[in-house]
Symmetry: C2
Subunit: 430 residues, 2 copies
């Protein structure tokens, strides 16, 4: 056995406590894997005296996590604070500056500052590891960085936010509306009091930007991600999707095109026969398509103390064993800068739902708007009949550009017989 790996933990929330618990309960088998013990020597959190599931009283305590990150008696710093700016960034920079490896669960930090932090870490000769930042229970960072390293990856996509997937699954199973299911998810602890990051797609976009960089060997480009959340999905859409043989999922999708990279996070209709359609509840899934390997799918829990701590400890074991790689698999200085392709030029089929007054000529008007934008109709459904209330007309189209559909939807919204802004959900043939 060689010298112990000295670990400093910044942030003692559920993940930090989870890491300490794993290191305590599985110290022996983990040391057998590493050839050396992992020892937590320092911790820092906001409140020293808070009750925690693990005893930290015997560890060196730092009120200032930045000072801890720079401490010479440390080999690895775990940044488990969160947020793209402020303390989390300062801790990461201080650790790198002091020549310490960093493990972070912080997707926002990497999505916004990934390229710059990767360069700094590699210049300092340290490892910036982040398995826990994307779908904690799925070792997909290692999978893309090492397991599929022989492949040219053309597309990577997935269900990257457990809260949104839980809500969509629950809506489908119960037929209830978004607001009601969200409230229940909050009660159950599956959604936060302020759920915006999750349900508006930002969290998924952070993760997608990281996966994109790793899969395609380009700089992280969070600003290049088109983002749309799930607030507008109604029980009606879920029911129509079912009828048409689809499930609605919030997907993050990144595609490598000849002239750039397309990154999108939005609700999708996915055919019921695809594996990802069956990833339900709080589970996440990531699919990578490689030239040699074909389609690879991995599914697991995306969040929670156990899965996230499992990912952090896997990174620790890598570092203890000396398996340290460039942040995004190739040297940060060699990462390409690729143009971001906009959603307007994305080509695909679409689903639209229009709430109309049910009177003769309505369908003709909508069809004319689509025709004027050169959009071809694949299917049309009109179920309800009412002369007093709005009734839904649902149309699925053949392939068209995002721009053409934007224009058609503006025209349709302007029709007298159309009572609400039309809804659009993209159809993905995965």
């Amino acid at each position: 056995m060689t010298a112990p790996l000295r670990v400093a933990v910044a942030g003692l929330g559920t993940v930090g406590a989870g890491v300490l618990q794993i290191l305590e309960s599985r110290g022996r088998p983990i040391a057998a894997r590493c050839g050396r013990p992992l020892v937590v020597t320092a911790v820092s959190a906001r409140d020293r005296h808070k009750s925690r599931p693990v005893d930290v009283s015997t560890l060196r305590w730092f009120d200032d996590p930045v000072a801890m990150a720079a401490d010479p008696e440390v080999d690895v710093v775990l940044e488990l604070i969160g947020g793209s700016e402020g303390v989390a960034k300062a801790v990461t920079e201080a650790a790198i500056g002091a020549g310490h490896h960093v493990i972070t669960a912080n997707k926002a930090l990497l999505a916004v500052h990934g390229a710059e932090l990767a360069r700094a870490a590699e210049a300092a000769g340290v490892f910036l590891a982040y398995e826990a930042a994307v779908a904690g229970g799925i070792p997909i960072i290692k999978g893309l960085r090492e397991g599929l390293a022989a492949n040219d990856i053309s597309r990577v996509y997935g269900i990257l936010n457990g809260t949104s997937n839980y809500i969509l699954t629950s809506m489908r199973e119960t037929g209830r509306e978004f607001d009601e299911v969200l409230a229940e998810a909050q009660t159950l602890g599956y959604a936060e009091a302020d759920p915006g990051f999750d349900i508006d797609g930002v969290d998924a976009a952070h993760k997608l930007a990281i996966l994109t960089a790793l899969a395609f060997g380009c700089e992280v480009d969070f600003d290049g991600v088109y983002i749309e959340g799930i607030r507008e999905i109604s029980a009606l859409d879920i029911a129509f999707a079912n009828e048409l043989g689809y499930r609605i999922k919030l997907l993050g999708i990144a595609t490598q095109e000849e002239d750039g990279i397309e990154q999108r996070v939005h609700p999708c209709l996915v055919p019921e026969g695809t594996p990802i359609a069956h990833v339900d509840g709080v589970f996440n899934a990531v699919v990578a398509e490689g030239d040699s390997v074909g389609r690879f799918l991995a599914e697991g829990r995306g969040a929670g103390a156990g899965p996230t701590a499992s990912a952090v400890v896997a990174d620790l074991i890598d570092i203890a064993r000396g398996n340290c790689l460039p942040t995004f698999a190739i040297p940060a200085t060699e990462l390409r800068r690729s143009p971001a392709l906009t959603s307007e030029r994305h080509v695909g089929s679409q689903y639209i739902r229009v709430m109309v007054v049910d009177r003769p000529g309505v369908i003709a008007d909508i069809a004319a708007a689509l025709r004027d934008c050169a959009i071809s109709v694949e299917a049309l459904l009109q179920h309800g009949r009412s002369t007093t209330e709005a009734v839904p007309v649902v149309i699925t189209t053949h392939e068209t550009t995002g721009a053409a559909m934007d224009k058609a939807l503006r025209q349709i919204a302007d029709l007298d017989t159309v009572l609400e802004p039309p809804r659009r959900i993209r159809i993905e043939s995965l």
Copy 2:
């Protein structure tokens, strides 16, 4: 860049040629990942002059792969010959003896000689890597060895043979019988002329034995695997399974129990709602259940030049980067020897199908046999009615031991009204 990694390839079949193609077409990005080039310097195969998709005329040729494996001008030997004994074993031992790393796609070799080869490799200070040996398109060896390294794994299971999964999927989709679908699979190249290894469960058992050792930290114990193939599955069973809400899959399942390890390969009824029920065609899937991570599932292609070569090259990249681990994650000398638990003591629900003469008292006789063995019936179906031909009676049971069911099936087989040996398929609640 440091010195190139010198690679010798023993065996130039589809996988060997696939590896050469990847190294040729993706040499630059792979070198960027490794910090050094990977260079094939020597090859060996049975026929030097055979037409191949890659040009090997400029490489050093060895008629004797064992001599090549021991050649001093080599860093890594790829054993892509196959078979648990003979040349493949000699090549592996010669390479280890000469202090070279070995990468093998050979599940039979590792299943039978894994413990001994692991000890030899570690004593020699070389890496014995085998990502390609189990479900090539799924980096599950790396996943278990590194990605889930923080976890105590309680169960690992999966669809480990693409040929069998293709046949079962096709039987379900077309309603045809086993023999007909097998013949078609052979025509399409999804099954070999001699399909025994695949359809009798031996190939899956080889892979399961390897996964078991890696997941639980014990010595490979291929002899401890209970093996049953899919030859006896009939179109009737597939139809009844569908009606009962199940799919039939050939699974390999390993469970860590207090008093030993249970390893089984046999057809299973899996509930339609489980993710693995939807892994169809030639795809493989592996599920690992860990104490921290919960359920992790990975799905991909199990065989073929591309996926297998992708796995071999991933191992090469690891070696080029110096990421060399013990064969089964912990030192071979520390691997436990665990007693193998028999299928007789396995507790689970079962499906049985009995072909009977449809006359009064038949069901009572069968029910009495089950009662005598303390087996409780969950459901009973009898569809056809015929006084001249055999009609099927299908029963699903509550949990019982394998031994109790063995006894009941013997009693049932002895009944005058029972015309064929009863069929039994285990039900897995995954």
